[in-house]
């Protein structure tokens, strides 16, 4: 079977792993801890592909009907 690169699919938005510093900034901006972020499973196809570790925060740049593009953050959790 041909392996498909899901990140190239038109419906899959761009996922970026944040480093320590960026993560801290995001958490500070919303004055929350990681648990208050929306979660994403480590088994998620995109997460597997970009090899994000458990406990990492990923930034997702989605297309938005209202603003063109919207930024979303998700916290990687183990199953």
């Amino acid at each position: 079977m041909v392996k498909i690169d899901v990140t190239k699919h038109m419906l899959v938005p761009e996922h970026i792993i944040l480093d320590e510093e960026e993560t801290r900034e995001v958490l500070e901006k919303y004055s929350i801890n990681k648990e208050s972020l929306p979660k994403i499973h480590i088994t998620d196809p995109v997460i597997k592909l970009i090899e994000a570790k458990e406990g990492a925060v990923v930034k997702i740049i989605r297309n938005s009907r209202t603003t063109g593009s919207a930024i979303y953050y998700r916290f990687v959790v183990a199953k």
């Binding site: 208050s36 972020l37 929306p38 953050y73």
Partner: protein, 882 residues
């Protein structure tokens, strides 16, 4: 006190010992009351189980009605029975455990593994994941052919719904089942989803049945003096009777067959006692044939305890009655009948500033409005006012610190609501106006948000009982705050029907004389003097244009250009394009596009730019001016508004006949095979499409011909064109032709063999045979046309019925999913645990109510404003320059 957080809930089972221990009485008699109406000892209504009759005392706790919470009793079952609620679990346990040694049918290592993964789920707080572990254990264990612990051979166990378990044809009695469950060792239970600390699997086989307290199943005494027992009591009686018979038969050594039959009957009764809708068995019925409402039915569904009594409740301080219109009250007012005002109260704390006012109210008593119904004295005693004690209470008892429950008066804030409450505008905070007659009165402009009309609609009203609630309601829920809807970013509250007709009549080429202007201005309490007349005729009589009068209620610096509802190519632009400069209407006609709910341009602008309160005043004034004008001029429509000249009807008839012929020709060419097939369609489809096209055109042409003879002098046309009510299509159906009737989007085709009705030849594909209605509503339909019209009409009714139920369910699901979400100050949307759901509300942070038809800015409007400014000689420019 700090709110507490529920960490976990434990679900356990009651052991037979526990049931006996908590029981206040062993029930053995199936009877309830004796001839004198006293509860029979050891019966189901024994006063050991609690009291429901005033005067009696509970024999267990010695308290009276309402003080005694009721006490459980118990029934010792002659033979054990299975609890329906647990059959699935029982089946799984039997399958997953050894029939001889009772161990879980996994090898010790697998059991350990399962325990480890269970613990992991619990540690991570993933309580939902435990189910997958249990399922896996049961699936693997039931595969075992023999026990890995004792080597015993295993047999297949099936569940024969609802409560019979079989092991390879052999029926397992509940007693046998219990025997097996008892054998399962404690160490194996956790992996089988049973916590041995709070439950044993054999508790799922009932040897003792708890009897609910009488307070949970009160009997009702009818007017005739007859007693009517609760359904649960009836069920308990059945259980007790069968239990008694079973006991007697068993002890008398009756044949096995009879005992087994009775045992099964007992199982049936216990099963239906828990759930009378168990699939596979007939529901137990009342003598009248109505199915009994047993335990599960009390909790489940819309009428169950949760949805009907816990999520929603009946409340005090509320009223409901029929609604009727009143154009003379403001949109934020509601008219309340005296009868209701005297019943509903608001608590007022007495202080030194209000004591004299309240004293007068108290003196009035409960029967003279405005009065007081109750007084809470400082010692906490609540005294009901009567005509007799009012005087005394006012003079002697009333003091600072008392709470007086005074009747509703003008100006109180109340919530007003109409079901179905589909959006937030279904419940708004109105100001009370107490008035004569027995209905709630509301301004017609608030009909659209409530979706109310006056064909018998009723509405609810709730009194706010605290200052905090009143403040909150006043700021958040007042109707003017809801003129702009978050649903589409435009006005939902606005002029309707006659307001629009009135505005149109007043502003379309209309002049008013002195008396008329006076009469209209009087209604809006105009105090700035008579405006300058627009025209003085040769006799010196002064006339005012309608648009000048209407301009008086506009904000003084309003500038606006837009197309009116009557805008179409036939009418001159100065009538149909509205230009407003500095609050003066220079040209155009005020109609639906100006002031109506959903479309009103002026209304929209006023609310946006001058605020909700100005918007409210504007609407109130529009109502009064429009209705003032329409009352001056008079307006009515009747059947003769649909009259068209003879020649016009002939013309229409001719046109329709031609269309009919055209369809006949199409049919002929279809049969001859010379019809040109459309790409991607079969020949039949081509015919249908072509015929539909011809007939739709014919209807439109008929409408046009009719429309030509119906001008703006016609009331029905005024209503349609100004956007007050109805459309030109409605009118053309009344005086032109009704047109093609459709079912499922195609010409009517079903009914009899190859024809719609026996009036037509088989295979007739002509216009008449396929549901084209040539007639108009005014002339009336032929019988076949009438039938086709009914077919089309019925589809519409069915569609609405289906749509409402489906969208209702969808809305319920959405509400349940979204009810806990909250918009936080930083613009994020979070749930109750403060977990972020959206980083910016709607991803753009725009309040849809403040958006312009959904867009954050209205570019077009901005450009238009600029263009107006750039125009040479535009008064706006002059104004700004000066």
């Amino acid at each position: 006190m700090k709110p507490k957080r529920i960490k976990q809930i434990e679900f356990g089972l009651l052991s037979p010992e526990e049931i006996r221990k908590m029981s206040a009485l062993k029930v053995i008699t199936a009877d309830t009351y004796d001839e004198d109406g006293f509860p029979i000892d050891m019966g189901l209504m024994d006063t050991h189980l609690g009291v429901i009759e005033p005067g009696l005392r509970c024999k267990t706790c010695g308290r009276k009605v309402d003080e005694c919470p009721g006490h459980f009793g118990h029934i010792n079952l002659a033979m054990p029975v299975i609890h329906v609620g647990y059959v699935k679990l029982i089946k799984n346990l039997l399958r997953a455990s050894c029939r001889s040694c009772g161990r879980c049918l996994l090898n010790p290592r697998e059991i350990e593994d399962a325990k480890v993964s269970l613990q992991k789920c619990l540690d991570n707080g993933l309580f939902n994941e435990t189910d997958t572990v249990f399922k896996e254990v049961v699936r693997e264990a039931s595969k075992a052919k023999s026990c890995p612990h004792c080597g015993a051979e295993q047999k297949k166990i099936v569940l024969d719904k609802p409560t019979t378990l079989r092991e390879e044809r052999h029926k397992l009695t509940p007693r046998e089942v219990r025997g097996r469950l008892e054998k399962i060792p404690e160490g194996d239970l956790p992996v089988l989803s049973v916590n041995p600390e709070i439950a044993r699997p054999e508790y799922m086989i009932l040897a003792v049945l708890p009897v609910p307290p009488v307070t949970a199943r009160p009997s009702i005494t009818l007017e005739s003096g007859d007693r009517s027992e609760d359904d649960l009591t009836h069920k308990m009686v059945d259980i007790l009777r069968i239990n008694q018979r079973l006991l007697e038969n068993r002890d008398a050594g009756a044949p096995q067959l009879i005992v087994e039959d009775l045992w099964e009957l007992l199982q049936y009764h216990v099963t239906t006692y828990f759930n009378n809708q168990t699939s596979g068995i007939p529901p137990a019925r009342h003598r009248s044939g109505r199915p009994l409402k047993t335990l599960t039915q009390r909790l489940k569904g819309k009428e169950g305890r949760f949805r009907s009594n816990l999520s929603g409740k009946r409340v005090n301080f509320s009223a409901r009655t029929v609604i009727s219109p009143d154009p003379f009250i403001s949109i934020n007012e509601v008219g309340i009948p005296y009868q209701i005002a005297q019943e509903l109260t608001i608590p007022a704390r007495v202080n030194r500033y209000n004591i004299e006012v309240l004293r007068e109210l108290v003196r009035n008593g409960p029967d003279t409005y405005p009065g007081v119904n109750y007084i809470m004295r400082n010692d906490g005693r609540r005294i009901k006012l009567t005509e007799k004690n009012a005087e005394h209470l006012a003079d002697e008892v009333l003091e600072e610190g008392c709470v007086v429950e005074r009747q509703v008066i003008d100006g109180d804030i109340v919530l007003f609501n109409r079901q179905p409450s589909l959006h937030r505008m279904s419940m708004m905070a109105h100001t009370v106006k107490v008035m004569k007659h027995k209905t709630f009165r509301l301004n017609l402009c608030v009909c659209p948000p409530y979706n109310a009309d006056f064909d018998g609609d009723e509405m609810n009203l709730h009194l706010l009982q605290s200052d905090e609630a009143r403040a909150e309601a006043m700021i958040l829920m007042a109707p003017q705050e809801h003129i702009l809807s978050p649903r589409f970013g435009g006005p939902v509250i606005g002029a309707i029907h006659d307001h629009i007709s009135g505005a149109f009549l007043a502003t379309y080429h209309r002049e008013f004389n002195y008396e008329q202007v006076l009469d209209i201005l009087e209604k809006i309490n105009w105090l700035k003097g008579m405006p300058e007349p627009d025209r003085v005729d040769e006799n010196g009589i002064r006339y005012w244009k309608g648009i000048s009068i209407f301009s008086l209620i506009l904000p003084e610096d309003l500038n606006l250009d837009y197309k009116a509802s009557i805008f179409d190519t036939d009418l001159p632009e100065e009538d149909t394009i509205v230009r407003i400069r500095n609050g003066k209407i220079l040209q155009g006609t005020v109609d639906g596009r100006s002031i109506s709910a959903f479309k009103g341009k002026i209304l929209d602008t006023v609310v946006r730019e001058y605020g909700p309160d100005e918007g409210r005043k504007f609407l109130d004034n529009v109502t009064k001016v429009s209705l003032g004008a329409i009352s001056q001029l008079g307006f009515s429509t009747g059947i003769d508004d649909q009259d068209i000249p003879e020649e016009a009807s002939n013309q229409i008839r001719e046109g329709l006949q031609m269309a009919s012929d055209a369809v006949a020709k199409l049919v002929r060419s279809f049969h001859e095979g010379i019809l040109t097939q459309l790409p991607g369609r079969s020949l039949e489809e081509t015919l249908e499409v072509e015929a539909m096209k011809v007939l739709a055109k014919a209807r439109d042409v008929a409408g046009e011909i009719a429309g030509k003879h119906l001008g703006l002098g016609n009331s029905a046309v005024i209503m349609a064109k100004s956007g007050a009510r109805g459309s030109m299509l409605n009118l053309s159906q009344m005086s032109g032709s009704i047109g093609q009737q459709a079912v499922r989007g195609e010409r009517i085709s079903r009914g009899y063999e190859n024809r719609t009705l026996p009036h037509f030849k088989r295979g007739d594909k002509g216009s008449e045979a396929k549901g084209f209605v040539k007639s108009c509503f005014k002339d009336g339909l032929t019988p076949t046309e009438y039938f086709f019209h009914a077919m089309g009409g019925r589809e519409g009714l069915v569609d609405t019925a289906v749509r409402t139920s489906r969208s209702g369910y969808m809305q319920r699901r959405l509400i349940n999913a979204l009810e806990n979400l909250r918009l936080v100050e930083d613009g994020t949307v979070r749930d109750t645990d403060s977990v972020i759901v959206q980083f910016k509300f709607g991803e753009d942070g725009i309040d849809p109510a403040k958006s312009i038809a959904g867009n954050p800015v209205d570019m077009e409007e901005m450009f238009k404003k600029r263009m107006i400014y750039n125009q040479e000689n535009d008064p706006l420019k002059k104004e700004v320059k000066e």
